[in-house]
Symmetry: C2
Subunit: 745 residues, 2 copies
């Protein structure tokens, strides 16, 4: 392995004590790596992705049973835990305009397993949409975000009583019909614009990786920002005898019908639109004039579903820890897809299995982890984290007591390591990222990710995050950037609901996998041709996650680098303060402009127009408690890291156990049992999926959303709660520091 001199000199750990942040034993990881096999992964991928495998399908059950056998064959103690979950599937569906009928089908592609998909493959649909039969004019709402509805108000256009058509992108799918419903729409179509993942991005399948005209993105339309998992059993495991809501009363089920359509079909509907030309940033890559509507021709949308309970099969496997059997390192990836799901989720699932196989090989040589390792293969992630959420809810008390770390992966791609989750894992991820060599660049995956961030041009979706991190990463000793996480994969119940320390890992940034996302064309052929040929990065993912698991399970000491977390919090506190200031300024300016009729004066009278939605005045906000908590956290974190570094190699076993007892559950200090306003399932005061963003994280959500949603009495309340949480985290650190300082090790 070649490492440049520059890198060796400048990119070293800030805190390099062997005590801290997990231990990597090269004699173990080398043997582990040697047992991994891209060929095995390819074979498994082809088998698992050979048929549709959604919740309740025969192949989904077959995969769970087969995985169970694999784990047992590898030497793990494994079982299947089954939940009974609501899973809506379409009985009939239609989108029509005059004589035009949308296809709602994806024709198979010869030479691709998509052509052999069994007839139990689901047609295009959105799980947990609300059945209905509606006819109304269309309004095009761009991505269907809150910003887009503000723009609609300026255009003087209402969606009340209309069917909206939104394009995929920017916010999570489920936000689009939810906001449409909240604005009075009676139906919602979502299509994949070729600008976002079609021909504009590259050649379309089968010539290239991108979405063909008839491709359709399925998905969940659950209001998972309220709570994920089974809609009928919020907060408790969906066991056979659990108390249940009905699908009509479940608040996370959508109230209006909604369907996804292809861009071939969307083009027909959009081309027929009338009304004003869409604003520049609303236009996609179809060769038409995008118009906002309302369309002159009514559209008929009809969906009817079955609302059955289905079994969700979680495969749970473990290797008991030799010294700390009640300290669990949990690692998961889901096994259900929307059709064949080769990229999403099976490319991550086969990496998980390969890790399990390699750990099984280690077991046979007498190796044992100090902590217990729990591998989980989740079912029902796609409908919205069903298997993981129900398991986490069912085992909540035990997990809060025993889980040291939850590591998640999902569909994997090619390129650069990305990490998100609890941000006190920076040093831990750094160690792991320096133990794995990138096969394309022959440097560590840590250095490659860093070079990517530092050299990326200032555009594209990651530009803002890149810029924020770039100046930090230029400095020697910078830890690997761990982003804040919202939702969108199985880590959510651990991070957002339980406060278990959580890490989400994956590789991406080079291949274009979006084009077949949640479509019939997410096949093993597609994945192996365009996303990760030879599953080279499948093996790199196994190495990376495997090393993380081995490091975390290899000792009984804390993983936390709290200075990274304190730095992130400082940034987030500044951000929310700036948000309040800019919102106050905008509200004042808007009030003045409304009073002087300026919007009407500036409007083109030949086009529809309207005043903006009136903002409420932003009161004076006392952020001092939050500033003080941030400062306390920074100080406590520095003291803890110094005490840890001062300790060198050794700590008496009793002190180590005490230290770990304090630190293992430290991220649970960030929870508030009352939860976020209106969505008590979400208890983490630092991280949550944005209420109207979806997968994307909103940091300090109690405070941030109280401001953006103009709930002024919640602002001081959540400033106090959030400050208390940060102070509780700092107090826990202070206890640990005192322990370290008094220990004779």
């Amino acid at each position: 392995m070649r490492r440049s001199i520059f890198f060796s000199l400048s990119f070293v750990l800030a805190a390099s004590s062997a005590l801290a942040q997990g231990t990597l034993d090269k004699s173990v990881t080398d043997r582990f790596d040697a047992a991994l096999s891209s060929q095995d992964q390819i074979g498994w991928l082809k088998m698992m992705a050979s048929e549709p495998n959604q919740v309740g399908s025969p192949h989904d059950k077959l995969i769970a049973d087969w995985e169970l056998q694999q784990f047992r064959k590898f030497g793990w103690d494994a079982h299947i835990e089954t939940f009974q979950v609501l899973f809506s599937t379409p009985v009939s569906e239609a989108v029509e305009m005059g004589s035009f009928k949308a296809t709602l089908q994806e024709k198979p592609i010869p030479g691709d397993t998509s052509s052999t998909a069994k007839d139990y493959a689901l047609p295009a649909y959105l799980a947990y949409q609300g059945d209905g039969d509606v006819t109304a004019p269309l309004v095009y709402v761009n991505y269907g975000t809150q910003e887009d509805y503000k723009q609609l108000a300026r255009l003087g256009i209402s969606v009340k009583g209309k069917i909206v058509i939104a394009r995929y992108g920017q916010v999570w799918r489920g936000v689009k019909p939810l906001l449409a419903y909240k604005h009075g729409a009676i139906g919602c179509l979502i299509y994949s614009d070729p600008a976002d993942d079609g021909y504009a991005e590259g050649a379309t399948y089968p010539e290239g990786p991108m979405r063909p005209p008839q491709g359709i993105q399925r998905g969940s339309a659950m209001d998972m920002m309220l709570y994920p998992g089974d809609p009928l059993t919020p907060g408790v495991g969906a066991t056979a005898d659990a108390k249940r809501l009905t699908h009509e009363t479940a608040p996370s089920v959508l109230k209006i019908p909604a369907l996804p359509i292809s861009y071939a079909d969307a083009q027909v509907l959009l081309k027929a639109m009338t009304g004003p030309v869409a604003p520049q940033n609303w236009r996609g890559a179809l060769p038409i004039t995008y118009r906002v509507g309302p369309g002159s021709q009514p559209v008929h949308l009809e969906v009817k579903s079955s609302w059955d309970l289905q079994p969700a099969y979680d495969v749970i496997a473990q290797i008991k820890g030799s010294q700390f059997p009640d300290q669990w390192v949990v690692r998961g990836n889901h096994h259900d897809g929307w059709v064949e799901g080769a990229s999403d989720p099976l490319s991550g699932q086969v990496a998980l299995l390969d890790e399990a196989k390699a750990m099984g090989a280690l077991l046979k040589t007498g190796w044992r982890p100090k902590r217990t390792i729990v591998y989980t293969s989740w079912d029902g992630e796609e409908p919205m984290l069903l298997g993981s959420t129900e398991w986490a809810e069912q085992h909540a008390a035990e997990l809060k007591k025993k889980a040291v770390l939850y590591i998640n992966t999902d569909g994997n791609s090619r390129g650069f390591l990305r990490a998100s989750g609890n941000q006190d894992l920076g040093a831990f991820v750094t160690k792991v990222s320096e133990s794995v060599t990138d096969p394309e660049a022959n440097v560590t995956v840590g250095r490659r990710a860093r070079d990517r961030l530092l050299t990326a041009a200032g555009s594209g979706p990651f530009a803002a995050a890149m810029k924020a991190e770039a100046s930090r990463l230029e400095k020697p000793g910078a830890t690997f950037p761990v982003g804040a996480a919202g939702s969108g994969s199985d880590f959510s119940p651990f991070l957002d609901h339980l406060g278990v320390t959580t890490l989400n890992l994956g590789f991406g940034g080079e291949a274009k996998s979006g084009g077949v996302y949640h479509s019939r064309y997410d096949t093993s052929e597609h994945h192996l041709r365009f996303i990760d040929p030879g599953l080279v990065y499948g093996k790199v993912l196994s190495e990376t996650v495997g090393h993380a698991v081995l490091a975390a399970a290899g000792n009984g000491l804390p993983l936390s680098s709290p200075a990274d977390f304190a730095r992130a919090m400082k940034g987030d506190i500044t951000k929310v303060e700036k948000l309040a200031d800019s919102q106050r300024e905008a509200a004042q300016k808007q009030k003045m402009l409304l009073a002087s009729n300026a919007y009407a004066v500036a409007a083109d009278p030949t086009e529809p127009h309207g005043n903006p939605v009136a903002m409420s005045a932003v009161p004076a906000i006392d952020f001092k408690p939050l500033d003080a908590a941030g400062a306390t956290l920074t100080k406590s974190a520095a003291a803890y890291e110094a005490a840890l570094a001062a300790h060198g190699q050794a700590l008496p076993a009793a002190d180590a156990a005490k230290l770990n007892g304090l630190m293992q559950t430290i991220n649970q200090t960030l929870l508030y049992e009352g939860g976020l306003p209106g969505r008590p399932w979400y208890k983490n005061l630092i991280y949550a999926p944005g209420r109207y963003v979806g997968y994307g994280v909103t940091t300090l959500p109690g405070v941030t959303e109280a401001i953006t949603e103009e709930r002024w009495s919640d602002v001081p309340k959540f400033i106090a709660l959030t400050s208390d949480a940060l102070k509780a985290y700092a107090a826990r650190l202070d206890q640990a520091t005192a322990l370290l300082q008094s220990s004779k090790g």
Copy 2:
């Protein structure tokens, strides 16, 4: 005229002394307004736009002769001044790929004068491109800007020996083949992407205003950033006996062949491209995968032109001033178009004529301006400011002595008043803008422009300028925003070469005129249907410019509000300092990343890639002289405005003459006779068209471009020269202030 209370209270002049910034006599402007007529303008527009009217065409001469008669009929003293200018026109041209031949023709549209255009209409071409016959693969270079070539380097793609294809937009047309040539390309195609002015923006002509698939933007490809006007006679008038270069030796003539093409034709060429997918912000609205190339199929480009001298007919008319005949208020608009030129330039030309008619009516009632009014109808603006530049060069000495103000307009549209030029005209434009009522909103055009700036969403091409001005405009007493000006219309020789105080005015922002720009479809039918129905804004333009001329010519006092200029300079100085800092930082960062091989490490090995073009280290730069000059200017401007305000209404005639003598030529203190490096024709140290931007202005160009072009020895030189110029301007103000303070008026 209704004015809201809010507006009356808050949007008043900072310096309201009648002495300052021109006087508006309502008894005169009311009579002037009453004589204006949209109906007259419509009739003239139809006649003047009835046939192609490029330089050298029969209809171009007919317009000049007819306008001469009109001026005389109105009571003006008028003549035609003729120059002999180089004007290249195509003899033969071809763009071919395999069996495909680009059309290079715009088919006429039935029911439109485009269908009756005489056969002397020019085909699609670029004036002053360099004849040639080349065959090479294509490379797509996005807009063909400097930034785009930097991106190409990162993609590891060279244009050396290739033909580039660029889309119109972002920078001026002529920059694209020039940069292509400088990067080693042997030919250049430019096409109009539907994203920029085709179907993405709205329905295409004749259904709507936007560019149809076969529409082509003609234009000049002269290197006007070197010098505009006749390529053979830089710096002197192109009289019959002037000393001339040849077209082969003229440095402003392009060295490679270049042609504009339609998007119907471009789609064929672009669809056949191979190579990497174009970066996201390189993609237009064609339904294809945009690729960078090089294309696998060679393209054949051939252009042959005639290089004749042609007559350019400037119509010059004047009304002698009653008190100050040697103080000239000059106002111009060109009369030549690329085909029929209804929007560009004739919509502005008929407003000019209407003003001349109304002033003629005033003349008949015994009114006389105090200063001399000179109206000019320029020929040959389209090939690149031929008529105006030659006239300004020919009369340079007289203009520098006598011109008080040059007011320019060009094609007019519908919507909001926009002003640019010398930024000490803020108070003057404010007065004018408050004297004209907007017909759509029934408020003053000043207030409407302000409300537009304050309410505009934060996107689109004017977002940055809007944001910068918005917070200033919220405050009571803010003057009308006068933007800095570069080039792109006939004001350039006055502003950039002579230092005559210059103002460019026009209305726009509501109609979409870009779609027929420089095409056969820029017809009176198009203009009257889509751009300014009823020429309502034609009359508003006449009122606005007419009032400006009447105000400037109505007294013998200065027009300057130097505090506006000082504020602009403060902003520009800060801007260039920040530019140096960010460029220094970027160069340091790049050096570090190149040394560590980071670009290669971060690159996808399956795609072409390269290191960025190496930046030179930015030395320490002493900006203190510029800061000091800016501070001096701010102080002197405040003192002058205070002395003027303190004076109230009266100033003895002798002092007024002295004051005007000092202030009339104050903007000439901003010139440096040596000119800008490598382009001595451009003498203004504050404003110039950006060397590789074109029409767009670069402020403090001597300093700014020395930094961006890494000419480090020029940086202190031009900091000194620019500081001296600002100090000279301030010193002139100090003289005026002393005069005002000592005057007994």
